[in-house]
């Protein structure tokens, strides 16, 4: 009978002020920009309401189990990413190192996205909004050519914000306005993470709750806009045929996985600051469900606004045609309205077909406008900003929208930074007397300096690369090793006992089955499918080139070989940490084989004392 001392751990480890702070931090980490600009897009292109079926299945069999695993692991071992995996088995320490590397890479580019949001935010205080009008050219006779051929919104994003180069090999110059915004963003991150969870715990109250407020305001506003119902109907009309396409299931699985911010090490770090007797099972289910509900909740205002934008574009198209007809036939004003447009067109087509043909009228189809979908930065900075111009009081809406995006991204940044910060503190690279403020300051400063390369002219192409390669495949690999490591190396029987000690309940069948078989299998399938899809087409990107013949369409270009090498490096670097660290320990063991103090994984347990 081994006695389990219940000494509350006075080990000087920081802890959450209250449970609510912890839950809010996890929710804030999980709920990020992807909930607003990726989920609605996926819903739209994958058959509307029908997409919810694979989404919830993936949530049930992949999202919730993996989330529970990470939270339980951190809470049980009370160590951040690297320390936790070293405790489970030194051979698995590479998993922690891999997730640490991914957290660093993602922090670098994620904050640059926030830089763009900040730039738009501080430009929203002008009247009229700078992306609503085209600037004039030098002799003031015409609008700027690039702006005129595309749209004012596109021009502001590609030229005034990014100052994008036509090719990734052409680096361009550093954009000083982006450098200023980047410095501000990193200063804000430093301010909030200066003492670890002591300060992020306070900041999270604002950054996690504020987006919900703004989403509600946008929901109310969005539903009152004309055309909102068209957008919503379009979004939610289920088209069950799309479920036959395996791509839909793959997208659902990857969306759940990346949306919950698994395998970053941030969640392990967060839960490691919890007291041991905490119901991590309930926490996991809560966080996962809140994350999915937020995605659904966010898609309603997004689609109301998109429906409004499509309707307005449709009306504009009709109006332009009407004006052409009225001018050509010298009919009195307001003789043709939108309602009787079709009857007039058919009448005129029968009486004067050549004149009508000569006018080159565009065919206006509401469905076509609704189909113009966008995700990611395209949704936020081009489509949505265009819709905001059309709303009355556009400055206020723009300011609200960009603050909301900033809070969403900032709360996710906290998790990323925590995933970098906590392992460093535990590795004891720095002595105990160094204040935490200094360490976080150094991390933020170095990250700022490295992220300066994203403010170059080709910066946004590089961010796409980082997003596609560093922030996707390695996470799947790390998560796979996490699950198999805990279940098969640490042994699930021991883990069940630890979880039972923490939550007071035995692990029920659902967790056993998903942890043992379903989740690892699903991860493996998703990983294979993902890699296969990536390798099927040559890696290409869409470049913004004003000299392209079909400008304003984007030019499809293939990555040059050196860029492809960097892509492979980004994807491989975190993954390769896993076998490398295992190999390193193997070699260390072989060298010390004379010393029989073999570190066996049996000895370490959650209890912290050797039995």
């Amino acid at each position: 009978l081994s006695a389990t001392p219940e000494i509350p751990k006075e080990d000087g480890r920081p802890k959450w002020d209250n449970k609510f702070q912890y839950i809010l931090s996890c929710i804030g980490f999980a709920v990020g920009l992807g909930n607003v600009w990726r989920f609605p897009y996926l819903c739209q292109i994958h058959g509307g309401g029908a997409f919810l079926i694979p989404y919830f299945i993936a949530l049930l069999f992949e999202g919730i189990p993996l989330l529970h695993l990470e939270l339980a692991l951190g809470q049980c071992l009370r160590k951040g990413g690297i320390g936790a995996w070293n405790t489970i088995s030194p051979y698995l320490g590479g998993v922690g190192v891999g997730s640490w590397v991914v957290s660093i890479l993602v922090s670098l580019y994620y904050n640059t996205v926030l830089t763009w949001v900040m730039w738009y935010f501080i430009n929203s205080f002008q009247e009229p909004l700078p992306w609503s009008v085209c600037p004039l050219n030098e002799n003031r006779t015409e609008f700027n050519k690039e702006c005129y051929e595309s749209t004012a919104v596109n021009y502001f994003w590609y030229r005034k914000t990014l100052n994008i180069t036509p090719d990734i090999a052409d680096s361009g110059t550093l954009q000083w306005w982006l450098i200023l915004c980047l410095a501000t963003c990193w200063a804000i991150v430093y301010l909030c993470t200066i003492r670890g969870i002591e300060t992020t715990g306070k900041a999270i109250y604002v950054t996690a709750i504020f987006p919900y407020l703004v989403l509600t305001i946008f929901l109310i506003q969005g539903l009152t806009l004309p055309g909102a119902t068209d957008g919503l109907v379009y979004l939610f009309t289920p088209n069950l045929n799309t479920l036959k396409n395996p791509r839909v299931w793959l997208d659902a699985a990857t969306q759940i996985f990346f949306s919950l911010s698994l395998a970053f090490g941030g969640l392990i770090a967060f839960s490691s600051y919890n007291p041991q007797k905490n119901d991590c099972e309930k926490d996991a289910v809560t966080v996962a469900i809140v994350n999915s509900m937020t995605s659904l909740y966010a898609s309603i205002p997004v689609f109301s606004v998109l429906g409004f934008k499509a309707t307005t574009a449709y009306w504009d198209c009709l109006d332009r045609n009407i004006i052409s007809i009225i001018n050509e036939f010298d009919l009195p004003e307001e003789s043709i309205m939108r309602q009787n447009y079709t009857s007039w067109i058919s009448f005129l087509n029968s009486s004067h077909p050549e004149k009508i043909a000569g006018l080159k009228l565009k065919s206006c189809d509401l469905q076509e406008f609704l189909d113009q979908s966008a995700s990611g930065t395209g949704l936020a900075f081009i489509v949505f900003t265009q819709a905001i111009i059309l709303m009355p009081g556009s400055q206020a809406w723009a300011i609200l929208f960009f603050i909301m995006l900033f809070s969403l991204g900032l709360s996710s940044m906290f998790g990323n930074i925590e995933g970098v910060f906590t392992p460093l503190l535990e590795l004891q690279i720095v002595s105990k007397s160094t204040p935490k403020e200094l360490l976080s300051g150094i991390i933020c400063l170095i990250s700022f300096l490295v992220a300066l390369c994203f403010t170059l002219g080709s910066g946004s192409y590089w961010i796409d690369i980082f997003d596609r390669y560093a922030g996707s495949v390695p996470l799947l690999v790390i998560a796979f090793f996490e699950v198999t490591g805990v279940v098969y190396v640490y042994r699930i029987k021991r883990f069940s006992k630890d979880v039972k000690r923490m939550t007071g309940r035995k692990l029920n069948l659902y967790w056993q089955i998903t942890w043992r078989f379903i989740s690892p299998l699903l991860l493996l399938i998703v990983f294979m499918a993902f890699v296969t899809l990536q390798m099927l087409k040559p890696p290409s990107y869409a470049a913004w080139n004003p000299k392209y013949e079909s400008f304003p369409m984007k030019e499809e270009k293939v990555y040059p070989p050196w860029v492809q090498a960097i892509c492979v490096l980004l994807a491989a670097l975190p993954c390769v940490c896993v076998p490398l660290v295992a190999l390193f320990h193997l070699i260390k063991q072989k060298c010390r084989s004379k010393d029989t103090s073999l570190i066996s994984s049996e000895v370490f347990s959650c209890q912290g004392t050797n039995s």
């Binding site: 009978l1 006695a3 389990t4 001392p5 219940e6 000494i7 509350p8 006075e10 730039w119 501080i122 430009n123 205080f125 002008q126 009008v133 600037p135 004039l136 003031r140 006779t141 015409e142 609008f143 200023l180 915004c181 501000t184 200063a187 804000i188 430093y190 301010l191 200066i194 003492r195 300060t199 009225i326 001018n327 010298d330 009919l331 009195p332 004003e333 307001e334 204040p435 403020e437």
Partner: protein
């Protein structure tokens, strides 16, 4: 006598018809969208408005070239449609049957576009001279870009926050150091008078955390499971 008047009049009318017709030389087409501009306050386009238009064009010509002697009767309107659109041409007051060159008319209209627009309560878009491009007004640019001001405010707030937190952190650190040295001094003095009981100082027993004797089983395992 009537016949004497009729003949020159008809000649003038024919001449006018020759000078002012769609796509004539030096003629301009005008397109007016009153309902779009004014909505419910729209006025009807009638002969009086046409008279005002002729007057404004004559005014523009006179203002453009100070030696011009254009009269209202020199401005000819024709082909008025329901749209409302029409063609106009300016005849030369000195030589009766010729028209003023288009470039001169264009320059005169451009110079006085604002006055013409406001006479009709319209704008460049709703009172269109089809061959005359309007100069676009330059965008209003304040002396300091607004975004720099907002940026400055945001940055100041953040820097103030950082400085506050760092300074408070240093102060807390100093206080902790001072307290620990004070406690060490206190402990040195107190050490002598500490009462020991079973090898443990009594004070410890008063501490809330206490020490749990590990020999006895923990709470959950006190009762044997059924």
């Amino acid at each position: 006598m009537l016949r004497a008047l009729l003949l020159p009049l008809s000649v003038v009318a024919i001449a006018h018809a020759e000078l002012c017709k769609p796509d004539a030389q030096n003629a301009f087409k005008v397109r007016i969208s009153i309902k779009t501009a004014l909505g419910d306050n729209a006025y009807a386009w009638d002969a009086n408005e046409e008279y005002l238009f002729k007057a404004m064009v004559a005014f523009a010509m006179r203002r453009y070239s100070s030696k011009s002697t254009t009269q209202i009767s020199n401005v000819l309107l024709c082909n008025v449609t329901d749209r409302v659109s029409f063609w106009f041409v300016v005849t030369d007051s000195s030589k009766n049957v010729t028209t003023v060159p288009g470039s001169v008319v264009e320059a005169a209209i451009r110079m006085n576009r604002n006055r013409i627009n406001s006479a009709f309560l319209l704008s460049d878009k709703t009172l269109q001279f089809l061959k005359i491009t309007s100069t676009l007004s330059p965008p209003v640019e304040p002396s300091t870009p607004v975004w720099l001001i907002v940026f400055g405010v945001v940055l100041c707030v953040i820097v103030a926050g950082i400085v506050f937190l760092v300074v408070s952190g240093i102060q807390k650190h100093k206080k902790k150091n001072k307290e620990s040295t004070e406690r060490e001094n206190l402990e040195e003095k107190v050490e002598v008078t500490v009462t020991l009981e079973n090898g443990m100082p009594c004070e410890v027993l008063d501490v809330k955390a206490g020490h749990i004797n590990g020999v006895f089983p923990a709470d959950d395992e006190r009762f044997t499971s059924l």
